[in-house]
């Protein structure tokens, strides 16, 4: 098989097929799965960690774990869910090391107190940009659930698997994440915040 055919075969392979090949020690399959997942997974990690360098490190560690543990994947969840759960676990470990989890709530409180007065800079800013900017000020749990639901488009059940928590916890976190986001928008006097 020439390189072009091999690449198109990799592109056509399902995540599960690539993982089986990885379990057999196929390094080309690692490259194929990395290329497939890199953009969304890296975006998830950047938004979770708020640090590109750390996100690249965690992405690397996650994919290395996929290589190491591919043979242990039991197919109880989807491949993507499994990989995101590894990435989530590593991201939280990284944050814990930096003590960001403990400090997060304080940071959010400070941010809310320091929010600019209504109409100071909102007029020039589009609502979408404001939401994206204010999302950065949410706690890590809230950022994660918004990311996984809105960008990665995982279901409630899949997010529960990734976070290793009950589905009701996912829904509760989403409720409070949205509530907090609305509060931040309202504090900046942004129209359309209240729903």
């Amino acid at each position: 098989m020439d390189m072009l055919s091999a690449r198109s075969a990799d592109a056509a392979a399902s995540d599960g097929q690539l993982l089986v090949r990885i379990a057999r020690g196929d390094q080309d399959a690692v490259t194929a799965l990395y290329r497939r997942l890199e953009r969304p997974l890296f975006a998830f990690l950047v938004k979770t960690l708020r640090d590109r360098e750390a996100a690249a490190d965690v992405l690397n560690e996650t994919m290395l774990d996929v290589w190491r543990q591919a043979g242990r994947f039991e197919g109880k969840s989807s491949v993507a869910t499994w990989i995101y759960s590894i990435a989530h676990h590593k991201a939280i470990s990284w944050l814990r090391k930096r003590r960001e989890v403990e400090l997060d709530e304080e940071a959010v409180a400070e941010v809310a107190d320091d929010a600019p007065a209504a109409d100071s800079k909102i007029a020039a800013e589009d609502l979408s940009h404001a939401i994206a900017r204010l999302m950065e000020k949410l706690s890590v749990d809230h950022r994660i659930v918004l990311q996984l639901a809105y960008f990665q488009e995982f279901s409630v059940g899949q997010i529960a698997e990734i976070l290793d928590c009950p589905e009701n916890t996912v829904k509760t976190r989403m409720f409070y994440a949205r509530q907090r986001l609305r509060a931040l928008l309202e504090a900046e006097g942004i129209e359309g915040a209240a729903a």
Partner: protein, 217 residues
Amino acid sequence: MRHEQHQGPLEPQDVEELLPWYVTGRVSREEARGIEAALKTMPDLAEKLAQVQREREAVARASEAVESAPPETLQRLLQQVETTRQWRVPRIENQEAGSWLKGALGRNALWQAAFATACVVIVALGVRLYNPTTPGEFGVASSINQAGGPTLLVTFQPAATAADIAALLTGLDATIVDGPKPGGAYVVQIPAGQASDAATTALMSHGDLVLTVLPGQ
């Protein structure tokens, strides 16, 4: 984890909770029908749905704006892959076959068994000759379970980590009960009723972790 689907009509609170997943099409058909019915009867729900859609667009746009990971991330990964051992627990290929042990006794088993036998003969002589005649000379406590199965004398590859070894032995329901002996061998006990030969072959199929396997006492 199984998805907990709503039974019966959705309560207004359930409808609102599910809106973030409704906009991405990640609710069940039944839940979608419930939300669509609620949109006709709850006057303020359409505005709430629009709010969720705005949030979703904003999050998606912000995430899409994140540039790719630096190219060296993949290069570094591939370099590490070259030198990183995999867990050799071929469950994916052998799900139908049932047990881990069946998987371990795969295509390479004959070759590995022959190699193992050669190693056993050579190293058995060495270890037995090296074994102290005075019990307890090395101060190692033994916890051999007399009700357990047979024991094997196993030496591991120098680069094998404790975690790798623990995972390997857990997969076989085996435990280290004594050691290290002179020459670095450990006494490994396998479950009662399990044949030593099968366990030896299974252990030797992990050549990246196991150096030699000898019959125990």
